[in-house]
């Protein structure tokens, strides 16, 4: 990626992200009362993460099969409420083992 082009993208990205954080902190002093807006904002994080994870995770390794192994392992450890780092680590190790098995068997 050429740097001139990159810096335009970087400025837009960093600018929007910063404004989203800055404007409310500087301007808003009262709490939002609208129930619909509050509910919408409540669901946004989990919706974004879900949309970003499925089906993208199935294209994150060399085959959907090994990715599926990582996905299932992550689901299990997340269900057991392990920490973020632990879930990610176990998921990676599972994919690594699956990748090696697929390669050499």
């Amino acid at each position: 990626m050429p740097y001139t082009e990159f810096f335009i993208y970087l400025a837009v990205m960093a600018g929007v992200t910063y404004l989203v954080r800055m404007i409310p902190l500087v301007l808003v002093r009262r709490k939002i009362q609208n129930r619909f807006v509050l509910s919408f904002l409540h669901y946004i994080p989990i919706a974004v993460l879900s949309v970003m994870t499925v089906p993208a995770i199935f294209y994150a390794s060399s085959s959907w099969l090994t990715a599926l192994v990582g996905f299932v392992v992550a689901l299990i450890f997340a269900y057991l409420e392990k920490s973020l780092v632990q879930v990610a680590a176990f998921s990676c190790v599972a994919v690594l083992i699956a990748e090696l098995l697929l390669k050499y068997i």
Binding site: A14, M22, G70, E81, A88
Partner: protein, 242 residues
Amino acid sequence: MEQNSFKKGITDGLPICVGYFSVSFAFGIFAVASGLTVLQALLISMTNLTSAGQLAAVPIICAGGGLIELAISQLVINSRYALMSVSLSQKLAPNVKGIHRFLVAFGNTDEIFAVSVSNKGTVGYKYMYGLILTPVLGWSAGTVIGAVAGNILPAVVTTSLGVAIYGMFIAIVVPQAKSDKAAAMCVFISVILSCAFKYIPVLNTVPSGFVIIICAVAASVIMALVAPIKIETEEVEADAVH
């Protein structure tokens, strides 16, 4: 009571720093594998400080996507920070004014927000700077080391590490969905929509940044209408007084 120790901020930020290091390590690998340089990956991490936003932006940037698409994707994915900033604004001590508010706003991530509001009483700018500094260092260092390691490590290892960031997302989503039926419903709707935009002809031609926006907004609007959250009016008022 006001918490305004820079040192205490640094200490409270350490666990966040460790967590960020591992996530940004995966981001560094992902950024380089997508076609960015190590320096570009670092610049993105240092200026944005947001996992989901950065992960969504890299494919758009590397595909030469539109600036509007990039801007709207960041706006929607990071919109949760707006709510956190509203909440944080009521937690800040009176000394956090003028330039300090503009600086503290930069570091308002999910985890930094969560730790700062867990303090009793208000938090001052020195504490906030400490609390922001350690995670920023962890986030930046992890990105660089991941980006460099992505070039050195065997392909099979970097391929496996590519799943890490999704593992993190799953670790955030699943416990919520487990304890809250509405959250589980929200996940279900999001996934169905997301898959529709991946596999159904015509829909699968929509650029990736817009897919995230459309699906997340649609799922959240549906859920906000079907299962609006309960508002404890008294608590809201009590918080506002602080």
